[in-house]
């Protein structure tokens, strides 16, 4: 008996490891995805260890070093690798601290949208009928607005600030998750194993969240990654418009907004560098999302 127990233990480990290995095999076929993952992990490390990596504080002003160019350009100074902005703050340090904001926004927005979307989507897909109609028409209404415009309106209602921006972006992204979950639940609901669980005595709640939901996760994970990057982008846009994180927060969009006056002048680094940071982050996460889709979607699998 002891021996069989050991056997069964190793067999599950092996199965999990095999699944992971298979996942990694398909994921690593996509070079871009691996590159994106590397950049993303680097970004997380930077965000976590920001106080130790950054050479200066994000809000420290150096009056003797206003609008210094990056070190590789004439006039740059060794202490300020990527130059300083209009009030003498080190841009590199602000970018490093800004990574914290961006990742935080991405995580919070995705979590709110994911949890809310899954909840509504599962209910709509499982019960159908008028519940489904009410939920889906509500989501259609949200989808009918241009997303940034709706986010702006919601921020105006909730009040400007990082929290308001995150909540409103999450609300705007909700319908995508609801639709995806509903479609997946409707497809799974008619399968025999669900009926079998019903005959075994499972109630609606157990059927919805324990039996059906785990089998619908693959498309949701992909959608979550993609909206992670979109959330960062939208939060930056809101920050640029002055409705997101408020100065002196070193959020990348807010940094862009502060630098608006330098867009046409010679101090290109004040504008370009936060923009580049946003671009690289979003690109990396999107690449990871594409790789995840290829690895998790059985229809795209080349066996």
């Amino acid at each position: 008996m002891a021996q069989t127990n050991i056997q069964s233990g190793t067999s599950t480990d092996a199965s999990l490891r095999r699944q992971l290995a298979e996942f990694w095999y398909y994921f690593s076929e996509n070079r871009g995805a691996v590159l994106g993952l590397a950049v993303f992990i680097l970004l997380i490390i930077i965000a976590i260890f920001a106080p130790w990596i950054a050479p200066h504080g994000p809000a420290d002003q150096y009056r003797d070093a206003v609008l210094l160019p990056p070190i590789f350009q004439e006039g740059g100074r060794a202490g300020y690798l990527l130059g300083t902005d209009a009030v003498g703050r080190d841009i590199l340090s602000r970018l490093i601290y800004g990574a914290r904001y961006s990742l935080f926004i991405g995580i919070v927005v995705t979590c709110i949208a994911l949890v809310g979307g899954i909840f509504l989507g599962v209910i709509a897909g499982y019960f159908r009928g008028w519940v489904d109609t009410v939920i889906m028409r509500l989501m259609d209404v949200i989808l009918a607005f241009p997303s940034l415009l709706l986010a702006l309106v919601l921020v105006a209602i909730i009040g400007p600030g990082l929290t308001g921006a995150m909540i409103s972006i999450a609300l705007v992204y909700q319908p995508h998750f609801v639709r995806l979950t509903r479609a997946a639940v409707m497809a799974e609901k008619t399968r025999d194993y669900v009926v079998a669980a019903k005959v075994a005595g499972a109630g609606p709640l157990r059927l919805m969240f324990k039996t059906i939901l785990p089998n619908c996760m693959a498309p949701l994970i992909v959608q979550a990654t993609l909206s992670f990057s979109n959330a960062i982008l939208d939060a930056a846009a809101l920050g640029f418009l002055g409705y997101g994180a408020q100065p002196p927060a070193s959020e990348w969009g807010t940094m862009l907004a502060d630098a608006r006056e330098f867009i046409a002048s010679g101090q290109w680094w004040v504008v370009t560098l936060p923009g580049l940071a946003i671009l690289i982050t979003v690109l990396a996460i999107n690449l990871v999302g594409d790789g995840l889709r290829d690895a998790l979607d059985p229809k795209l699998k080349r066996s």
């Binding site: 056997q7 199965s15 025999d192 009926v195 005959v199 005595g201």
Partner: protein, 277 residues
């Protein structure tokens, strides 16, 4: 006379179809007034072509779908799930086994959880007791305790069907509805699973409602046979009566359509071919 486990009186099931913008709503009768009784420990086989309502009837018997009208009695108690909630007591009496063993097991659930779930939901047994019972049941259906922690995708079709049978038996039901349990399996595995079912019937004194379109299987396992045709019962009697002396024309066609593989019939077929050539 032994006790009757299952009785159907005039069971009707209707589906409402259409009713769109331009189409008129139609009512389709999938099951039209079916009567039958099954005694304890016996097997009733329901035979018929695809779409004749036999699976619909099976779903009504398993308390998955409600009947539109008519009475369903399980252990002498009338039940109509359209009106009353299904009690755990009722749930424990009837279980079902599906045709496709690849779809009837949750791919994200370990075998141990699959078997433990009915106990978890319907009894107050502790985790250790559930584990012990599941292990015992695995051995009974011809698998081993080492399969407890595996996932469904690691099993073959025949093994999966054994797992499905084990799950259905966990609550020690008195009635088991088998919805074409062997038609998705290849022949040698079919025989194994049928033998297993016959053994389990003896061991637990189970009553089977066996839905099938395979007459050789029915001849092997059934005590009574009910032939359905477009929702109606066209023939109902003991196995020997139905097989030796079919009354309805559809039953006769059905028997004539069964391929025969004994030596005599093969010789006759060859002789016929030669005569024609």
């Amino acid at each position: 006379m032994s006790d009757i486990v299952l009785e159907g009186r005039n069971i009707v099931r209707e589906y409402h179809v259409g009713g769109g913008l331009f189409g008129k709503a139609k009512t389709v009768q999938a099951v039209k007034g079916v009567n039958f009784t099954v005694e304890k420990g016996k097997t009733l086989a329901i035979v018929g072509e695809s779409g004749c309502g036999k699976s619909t009837l099976g779903r009504i018997l398993t308390l998955i779908d409600p009947q539109t009208s008519g009475e369903l009695l399980i252990d002498g108690k009338p039940i109509n799930i359209a009106k009353d909630k299904v009690t755990t007591e009722m749930r424990r009496k009837v279980q079902i086994i599906f045709q496709n063993p690849y779809g009837s097991l949750n791919p994200r659930q370990k075998i141990g959880e699959v078997l433990g779930e009915p106990l978890l939901l319907n009894t107050n047994k502790t985790a250790a007791e559930r584990r012990e019972l599941a292990m015992q049941m695995l051995v009974k259906v011809g698998l081993g305790p080492e399969h407890y922690n595996r996932y469904p995708h690691m099993f073959s079709g025949g093994q999966r069907q054994r797992i499905a049978i084990a799950r259905a038996l966990m609550l020690s039901p008195s009635l088991l509805v088998l919805d074409e349990p062997v038609s998705a399996l290849d022949l040698s595995v079919q025989a194994q699973v049928l033998n297993l079912l016959a053994d389990l019937q003896d061991e637990f004194n189970l009553t089977y409602v066996f839905i099938s379109h395979d007459l050789s299987v029915v001849r092997y396992i059934a005590d009574d046979v009910m032939v359905m045709y477009y929702g109606e019962v066209v023939e109902y009697g003991t196995r020997d009566e139905v097989f030796s002396n079919p009354q309805h024309s559809y039953t006769k066609t059905l028997f004539a359509a069964t391929p025969k593989s004994d030596v005599e019939s093969i010789r006759a077929r060859i002789a016929k071919k030669k005569a024609a050539a």
